[in-house]
């Protein structure tokens, strides 16, 4: 996690690029996403959160083995975190209007980034 000071060191150009990125990805938030991971499972859920390493958090996530359309059974996981390193492919259904309880007014939500301050609760004394 970064120190807030580092922000000021980033050049303007990279800043602009990040901004564009944020906007683009933000469009995809709350949309249904289909992720297949390296061991062959397919996870379908609503994209809620992501980061630089492509770690994804999917809401209302269902897990299918093999092809989802042929599966009668699936496992309902709820909230699932998929580590970026295990992702094989990502599909997004851009056209869908949000069926999730989250708000469907993406243009009005401000892009908030989270830099969490970690409290250094160290118990060791060295």
């Amino acid at each position: 996690m970064t120190d807030s000071n580092e922000d000021k060191l980033i050049s303007n150009e990279t800043d602009a690029q990040s901004e564009r990125t944020r906007q683009k990805i933000h469009q995809w938030l709350n949309k249904p996403m289909r992720v297949s991971i390296v061991d062959g499972r397919v996870l379908i859920g609503v994209l809620l959160c992501t980061d630089r390493d492509q770690n994804l958090i999917l809401g209302n996530c269902n897990e299918y083995i093999g092809s989802p359309s042929e599966q009668e059974e699936f496992r309902a996981l709820g909230l699932a975190l998929i580590p970026g390193q295990h992702i094989q492919s990502i599909y997004i259904d851009e056209g869908s209007s949000s069926t999730t309880p989250h708000s469907s007014n993406p243009s009005h939500t401000s892009i908030t980034t989270t830099k969490d301050h970690i409290v250094d609760d160290d118990k060791s004394d060295d």
């Binding site: 990279t14 379908i44 083995i65 599909y91 939500t109 908030t112």
Partner: protein, 810 residues
């Protein structure tokens, strides 16, 4: 691409590379999320591809099969398809099944869910259709055994954490409660055993001896007998009389007898071991080798995926392998041993003894949930619809009575010792009320001690709040009684009384002292547990030792002084008074409180401080040699002697510790430096956190950090390191002396060999021996430091000898 899943049709666009590129542009550590989605929620997400959290990882094969139409078959279906047999099973097959079921039982006790242990056996799902009588009986018994343990023992004791044991989740599995009763199982097992014995005899008389079949049958008989005895033993715990629903008390003799029989059986049983290769043999014939080919007919009797669909999504999907039978039998042997040890609780007749036993047992045996539950239920059996505090000890003694008896032993209040005084109704009510209320925290104390150690510590801190309320109550009661007794004594013709003794009785707050004593015990144990659990960091050691010594132990020493003084001074007078009025009152005890625990007093008349037997005419002159509660010879003036010796020892050790810690700090020999930069590393914050549980008590009063700093100055800071070192050395030597004299007293009295775990309050013999070693070592190190040895060298603390006090290491 388009895809229809269920009711929804999705139009998927491949964004794999685009997404990856975009994400790379994000700064490190930045997380992109919707406004409404907080990081706190994100924490609750299941992490996939993590072996612990992701159950779906391992079931690929299973789903493969499911896809190809091989659905999980139920028992009737399996029987129909002739994939599993349910009649005329060979002894070898039965042995294998038995050992597997026993293994699932072990895993269930360890905390795995029913769905993944017992109920992965297909037979258990539909027992009535099994034709084979032994198999049917064995299956019923296992189900009943688990059901009984779950319902009557684990759930009733309520000592488990959610993650350790899922008590209420039964997945609608059949438990056959109406079909078959516990006692029926026992008699069925006996029948099986008898039949098999007959068969064995006939086998032995055959012309051509089939040795393997004989062995197998013999082993099967052992197993069935073992199951019968084990189930029988389990049923005796927390047994409820069906008609009256009252608790039957524990018949520990029967149980011990059965445990002995079980031990003998366990020696005879050879755990089975399934092998692929027919030629392997067990090295010392300790195990029974079963070639896998002979189990062909029952190959599908266990299916790990049987209950797959019923498991909650976040659950473990299956257990890879059941525990080997040899390990299971060893485990059962150790359970029996622990049970035997645990039954010693039945000898503990006072709260103090029981307290010491619980502490000792949890420290040394490190019991599992099952045994802990049994311990609690042996001491305080559960009663339908009753609170913990209204349970009877051993199902016999009312808790309030026990508390009163305990108080009488500790501090001989006139209210509980003068037999022939008449007490008015109001005082009786006040007194009864107090004792009833006292039952709640005291019974909670024993409940707390049966949890796992971390939870115990947590519960103890909550308990201190309850005790602080009790302290207030006790003060009020003392005030009331003070007035009452003044009146009563003035009225009564008690001219034989020594005026000084009278004054002493007047001045003493009996109830307050009693509650304070127990509060201090809990506080001490709480702090010491912090050491056991390695909770304190080096920077906190000074605070802890200082608080422990100067506030807690100091107060406790005074409490013991008061109590000893009272016991020595007032007992003769109390006995005299009782004797004087005995004739007049025609031996009718009018004191209602004394009446209540008169049976307890009679049972333990040797231990009673007021041993008022008829021949004890002049107690002042004779020094009666009597055995105190621990069976050690002592004289009348030796009340609490062991406890006092130990407390002084601890006091000296802790004082020495905080003095030398201060000296080390002044000489800058400690390895850490305190910074205020981080909130959680600040001394004040840490101090508050550590001693927060003590904040509500009225005695000993909580010392806020500011006062603590002030007192530090007075006590330690104004001395030079050399002076502090010297004082520490003195204190360590003193501690050594106290502990050694304690040991000497114990070993000198003509006592059978004291086992190492003999505990007084919270200190065992083994502890004391370690303390002595630590004190010696520290003396040596401190003498070196005193002489200025290696001034630049920093000191380290080594807790390996004992968790409570470190040895200093250069």
């Amino acid at each position: 691409m388009q895809e229809t899943i269920g009711d929804t049709t999705y139009n998927w666009t491949d964004v794999t590379t685009e997404f990856a590129d975009l994400c790379r542009n994000l700064p490190v550590g930045e997380v992109l999320r919707d406004e409404d989605f907080t990081l706190f929620e994100a924490m609750t997400a299941l992490e996939l591809m993590d072996p612990k959290m992701d159950g779906g990882m391992s079931i690929k094969n299973h789903f493969h099969e499911q896809k190809h139409g091989n659905r999980t078959l139920t028992l009737p279906q399996l029987i129909e398809k002739k994939l599993v047999k349910t009649s005329s099973l060979t002894p070898t097959e039965l042995i294998h099944l038995f050992d597997q079921l026993l293994s699932t039982f072990h895993m269930w006790l360890d905390g795995h869910s029913l769905a993944l242990t017992l109920y992965t056996c297909v037979y258990v799902h539909d027992i009535p259709i099994i034709e084979d009588y032994p198999l049917r009986t064995i299956c019923y018994t296992f189900v009943k055994l688990i059901d009984y343990i779950r319902e009557r023992i684990l759930l009733k004791a309520g000592l488990f954490e959610e993650e350790d044991f899922s008590g209420t989740l039964t997945y609608n599995f059949p438990f056959y409660r109406d079909t078959i009763k516990d006692q029926t199982c026992l008699s069925d097992l006996k029948k099986c055993e008898d039949e098999l014995n007959k068969r064995l005899r006939s086998l032995k008389h055959e012309s051509e001896l089939n040795q393997s079949e004989i062995n197998a049958t013999q082993q099967l008989i052992h197993r069935i007998r073992f199951l019968r005895l084990f189930f029988g033993v389990t049923l005796r715990f927390n047994e409820a009389n069906e008609k009256t629903n009252e608790q039957t008390y524990l018949n520990s003799e029967e149980i011990l007898k059965n445990l002995k029989q079980i031990d003998e059986l366990l020696l005879l049983i050879r755990p089975s071991h399934v092998v692929e290769d027919e030629t392997t043999t067990s090295p010392d014939n300790a195990e029974m080798i079963i070639p896998i080919s002979s189990l062909a007919d029952i190959a599908r009797s266990f299916d790990p995926y049987y209950n797959y669909r019923q498991l909650p999504p976040a659950f473990n999907r299956f257990i890879r392998q059941l525990i080997l039978p040899s390990c299971v039998y060893t485990f059962l042997g150790s359970i029996c041993q622990q049970l035997r040890r645990m039954l010693e609780v039945n000898d503990k007749r006072t709260l103090k003894q029981a307290f010491e036993f619980f502490l000792e047992y949890s420290t040394n045996e490190k019991p599992s949930l099952f045994i802990r539950s049994l311990l609690l239920l042996s001491y305080l059996p559960s009663v339908q619809g009753c609170l913990l505090s209204s349970r009877k000890i051993f199902g016999q003694i009312s808790f309030a009575e026990q508390v009163k008896y305990e108080m009488r032993l500790f501090i001989v209040p006139p209210l509980l010792t003068l037999k022939y005084i008449a007490i008015d109704q109001e005082t009786i009510n006040y007194g009864e009320n107090f004792f009833q209320r006292a039952c709640v925290p005291f019974s909670n104390l024993f409940y707390s001690l049966c949890n796992n150690r971390a939870r115990t510590r947590e519960k103890l801190s909550n308990l201190l709040d309850e005790f602080s309320v009790l302290q207030d109550e006790s003060e009020k009661l003392d005030q009331w009684l003070h007035k009452y007794f003044l009146q009563h004594i003035l009225q009564a013709n008690l001219s034989t009384l020594n005026a000084q003794t009278l004054l002493l009785i007047e001045k003493t707050s009996y109830f307050f002292q009693f509650i304070l004593h127990w509060t201090l015990l809990i506080m001490e144990y709480y702090l010491l547990m912090g050491f056991d659990l390695s909770l304190y960091s080096k920077r906190e050691l000074y605070d802890v030792y200082f608080y422990f010594a100067q506030i807690i132990l100091f107060t406790h020493i005074n409490v013991y002084k008061t109590s000893t003084n009272l016991l020595n001074t007032t007992i003769p007078m109390l006995i005299q008074t009782n004797q004087k009025h005995q004739q007049i009152s025609k031996n009718q005890t009018s004191n209602i409180f004394v009446q209540q625990f008169s049976s307890l007093v009679q049972q333990h008349s040797n231990d009673d401080p007021l041993m008022d037997s008829a021949n004890d005419s002049n107690p002042g002159q004779k020094k009666n040699k009597r055995k105190n509660l621990n069976g050690l010879l002592s004289t009348n003036t030796d009340h609490h002697e062991q406890e006092v010796a130990l407390i002084h020892g601890h006091f000296a050790m802790s004082t020495a510790m905080h003095r030398c810690l201060k000296a080390l700090e002044l000489e800058r020999r400690l390895r850490f430096s305190s910074t205020d930069a981080n909130y959680f590393l600040r001394d004040e914050i840490r101090y508050r956190h550590r001693f927060l549980p003590f904040a509500n008590l009225c005695a000993p009063p909580y010392m806020p950090h500011a006062d603590f700093l002030h007192i530090q100055n007075l006590s330690d800071n104004r001395y030079t390191p050399k002076e502090l070192y010297q004082d520490a050395i003195n204190n360590f030597s003193q501690a050594k002396t106290y502990f050694e004299s304690y040991l000497n007293r114990l070993t000198a009295s003509k006592q059978q060999t004291l086992n190492r775990t003999f505990t007084t309050n919270f200190t065992s013999l083994a502890d004391v021996e370690s303390y002595i070693r630590i004190a010696k070592t520290n003396c040596v190190v401190l003498k070196l430091l005193l002489s200025g040895h290696k001034p630049e060298m920093k000191i380290d603390f080594d807790f390996t000898l004992h968790a409570h006090y470190p040895t200093l290491k250069l």
